[in-house]
């Protein structure tokens, strides 16, 4: 750790400027005298010298950064990183419109720094609490993205935003097979941090929450330990806790026509500030893994509609062969892909063409205190042009054979604004 610290190439030459709170100001780190040179917290992209050598066991370039600024927020079309930290936050009572606006500015500054591989701030004051919490020092940035979203309740009038509410932003209606825990539902704001390094993702949410203290407080939080979707043709398909490949038929970022049609918002959102954004639907889906593990292999495959190892549709071919829903089973009993198979009911063919961009993660909250079984499953995240897309799909899944093994226990919807230009902050257009 110490070696990494002193050898980092530290891209800290582009400070975000002192914020109102002074949180992000300063230079030097952990006693300036002891450490020479650039002192980034975690290392920036490329040319990391010995820093890169220390992470040579990481597949790909762990120093790679994802641009923070752009047409759309990063963390949506970005090839899904391996790890997630997700915070749902509520604005504390007594917060004014300008407090909230200032917080979003501070968050922008901090997020721009962290995603570039820098600390939140450089610490020089021995008697001040460190500006950055420090746990990610020495950890490569690992493609960190930070994505912010606004929940329906943010537009309830507390901050004069009622007239800025996107047309389709609302709590989801009651949906099949859910038993929602209010402790994992809704929120005024969300922060999605994704990285290939779990510590880096966690660090981002922790520090944004810290910066927000007094203005926002955590409503709930979830950590995802393995991506369950592929969002790019450059990625292999990962597996979820069912042991099956997940996201084979997901929209891929390279399919820009589908992204425009099903993921990015435009004029239909009814809000100028929201053009180029996307709705984020989060669902905490518990998988009763012990029950699932007892099901025999052939039935597991019939429940999903795919072979377990290869991931091929049961109508034949290989993983990416298009499913033939009309084909009969080779053993002659009904269709090859059963009528209640998950992949049939979730398919766009079955849902009038509707698609969403799934970007979920496996999670665990430990052990169920009553049952002694795993409290874990899929932390489902999906981006879409309108939450009605998810509602349609989830209603189709009322008949899903998989429902025997899962239950939706958390739910939230957020409007993720479009990307920022250099110099812009989250909230600028919202608060205009």
């Amino acid at each position: 750790m110490a070696d990494e610290l002193t050898n980092g190439d530290g891209h800290d030459g582009k400070p975000g400027g002192p914020s109102r709170r002074g949180l992000l100001a300063g230079a030097g780190l952990f006693g300036a005298g002891a450490v020479a040179g650039g002192l980034g917290g975690y290392f920036g992209h490329s040319g990391g010298g010995s820093a890169a050598a220390n992470t040579s066991d990481v597949v790909g370039d762990s120093n790679q950064t994802i641009p923070f600024y752009g047409t759309h927020q990063a963390g949506i079309a970005t090839p899904a990183q391996d790890r997630l930290a997700f915070g749902s936050m509520n604005v504390v009572s007594g917060t004014s419109r300008s407090d909230l606006r200032d917080l979003l500015k501070d968050w922008t500054t901090a997020a721009a720094r962290m995603t570039a591989g820098q600390l939140v701030g450089e610490d020089t004051q021995p008697y001040a609490p460190p500006l950055d919490t420090g746990e990610a020092v020495g950890s490569p940035v690992s493609r960190l993205t930070i994505t912010v979203g606004y929940g329906p309740s943010l537009f309830d009038g507390r901050f004069g935003l009622a007239g800025k509410k996107p047309a389709a932003l609302a709590q989801l209606p009651a949906l099949p097979n859910e038993n929602l825990d209010p402790d994992y539902t809704d929120g005024d704001l969300c922060v999605q941090a994704c990285s290939d390094d779990p510590l880096v993702a966690f660090h981002a949410v922790r520090n944004l929450a810290r910066i927000g203290m007094g203005v926002v407080e955590h409503n709930w939080m979830e950590l995802g330990f393995g991506r369950t979707s592929t969002t790019s043709t450059s990625e292999a398909t990962p597996r979820n806790l069912l042991g099956f490949k997940d996201g084979t038929r997901n929209i891929k970022a390279e399919q820009t026509e589908l992204m425009d049609k099903y993921v990015w918002t435009g004029a239909e959102s009814g809000q100028e500030w929201f053009h180029g954004g996307s709705y984020l639907v989060a669902r905490k889906i518990r998988i009763f893994v012990e029950n699932w593990d007892r099901d025999y292999l052939q039935d597991q495959e019939h429940v999903i509609g795919r072979s377990k190892v290869a991931g091929a549709p049961l109508s034949g071919g290989t993983e990416f062969t298009a499913p033939n829903f009309a084909k009969k089973s080779s053993t002659g009993l009904g269709p090859a892909i059963p009528m209640n198979a998950h992949m049939r009911l979730a398919s766009f063919e079955h849902n009038g063409g509707v698609r969403i961009l799934r970007r979920g993660y496996s999670f665990t909250d430990g052990i169920d205190p009553q049952r002694g079984t795993l409290l874990g499953g899929l932390f489902f995240i999906a981006f879409m042009q309108n939450p009605s897309q998810f509602i349609k799909l989830q209603n189709s899944l009322a008949a899903d054979a998989l429902n025997e093994y899962i239950q939706h226990t958390g739910s939230a919807v957020f409007a993720c604004p479009p990307g920022l230009k250099q110099g812009q902050s989250w909230g600028d257009t919202l608060f205009e």
Partner: protein, 400 residues
């Protein structure tokens, strides 16, 4: 797919078994859905030739041409020339309860289709939106039976299972009648005692009842799982909510009449159902999974706290399957049989700690809300161990 119109009537656990059990509709074996193929049954036609049925979607309907075909492989070609109000054709069982195949989203100008292997019998073509929605398709010829039938021990086990399910369902109906009469008489306290006594029969046959997903929801659906529309919350658990949460029988007689109607429908359907050994073992595992999941958490009987007697009913019915399959398993895997019996004994020991006389509402057990989380974990641990052993039985019977 909407199994029953547009209603969300499918219970969470329903669909898999829906597909697993070959239904008999009249004298007809309809090999529907998926998992029965594990029995390696040969159901393709003797000739191996495929018959084509053409269906043209029109505002008037979806008449199959021809309307009578031989059993075996059948290809359905569906076309929509210019019917704007009709966009799909489904093949259903003759009582319309199950979709066997479908072609959706056929707007004018489009064509599509699906293939199935059909056993002899009567089927319905269903095309929502047409002036005549249901059309009959007749399949002629001989049906073919699965290979396990030639094993006398398995054949005997399946016969025994059929008898058991029929008897439990008949007992469900008669005990529910007694329950409903008490409700009609306005005797709330006695009705509370009779509620779990009727429930236990349902909890023994549930994997079978789930074949008919909408009926399962109408009889046993829980609020939020899957029922989220107030008018659809109508079965046992709605009455339970009235009696324990609202402490009233107001509205209960009408709900009970509906319950009886659905149970009678279930009884009729059960009488003509057929099962296979894999469905028996899978159903037994499902029962224990259910005990381990919704009973342990108290979700199932959340208003009455009568989870313990129904927990016991789940275990009893699973062990009935083991008992019926014992002659077969004794030769195939005696070690597994021993393990299952030991683990069942451990469950009964764990459960016996909560026996009481006469017990909460005369159930023979304490009120479940008094069982602490740490105690629930002990119960859960024993029942999960049993489920794990039980799930191994499919290895033997599925290969038969």
């Amino acid at each position: 797919m909407r199994l029953d119109g547009n209603r969300r009537t499918m219970r969470g656990r329903t669909p898999r078994l829906t597909a697993m059990i070959a239904l008999v509709t009249g004298a007809v074996v309809v090999a529907a859905g998926c998992s029965s193929s594990a029995s390696k049954s040969k159901t393709t036609s003797d000739s191996g030739k495929s018959t084509t049925v053409s269906i043209s979607l029109t505002p008037q309907g979806c008449a199959p041409k021809p309307a009578k075909v031989a059993a075996g492989d059948v290809s359905f070609n569906v076309t929509n020339k210019d019917a704007s109000a009709v966009s799909e054709a489904e093949l259903r069982t003759s009582n319309l309860s199950k979709i066997l195949g479908e072609q959706e989203n056929l707007t004018p100008g489009l064509a599509g289709g699906f293939e199935l292997t059909l056993q002899p019998g009567t089927y319905k073509i269903n095309c929502p939106g047409a002036s005549q929605q249901h059309w009959t398709l007749t399949v002629t010829g001989k049906s073919t039976g699965p290979s396990w039938e030639s094993n006398p021990k398995l054949a005997s086990a399946v016969r025994g299972y059929t008898t058991y399910i029929n008897q439990q369902t008949a007992d469900l109906v008669s005990s529910s009648q007694t329950f409903c009469k008490t409700i009609d008489a306005g005797n709330l306290n006695q009705a509370k005692i009779l509620y779990p006594r009727a429930r236990v029969y349902y909890e023994r046959i549930e994997p079978v009842a789930e074949i008919w997903g909408s009926l399962d929801t109408e009889i046993d659906g829980r609020w939020e799982n899957p029922v989220t529309v107030e008018s659809q919350f109508i079965g046992f658990h709605r009455i339970e909510q009235l009696m324990w949460s609202d402490n009233t029988l107001k509205g209960a007689p009408a709900l009970c009449a509906g319950l009886m109607k659905h149970e009678q429908q279930l009884l009729t359907l059960v009488k003509s159902a057929q099962y296979n050994p894999l469905e028996m073992t899978s159903g037994a595992t499902d029962l224990i999974n259910e005990a381990a999941t919704s009973k342990i958490s108290g979700e199932e009987e959340r208003y009455s706290n009568t989870d313990l007697p129904v927990f016991k009913a789940n275990v009893d019915a699973a062990m009935e399957v083991v008992s019926l399959l014992t002659p077969y398993l004794q030769t195939k895997d005696p070690g597994l049989l021993t393990q299952i019996k030991q683990r069942n004994a451990a469950v009964l020991t764990a459960l016996s700690k909560y026996q009481a006389s006469p017990g909460y509402d005369d159930t023979g057990y304490v009120e479940y809300s008094t069982v602490l989380d740490t105690q629930r974990r002990q119960l859960s641990s024993s029942v999960n161990a049993l489920a794990e052993a039980l799930s191994q039985t499919s290895t033997q019977v599925g290969a038969a």
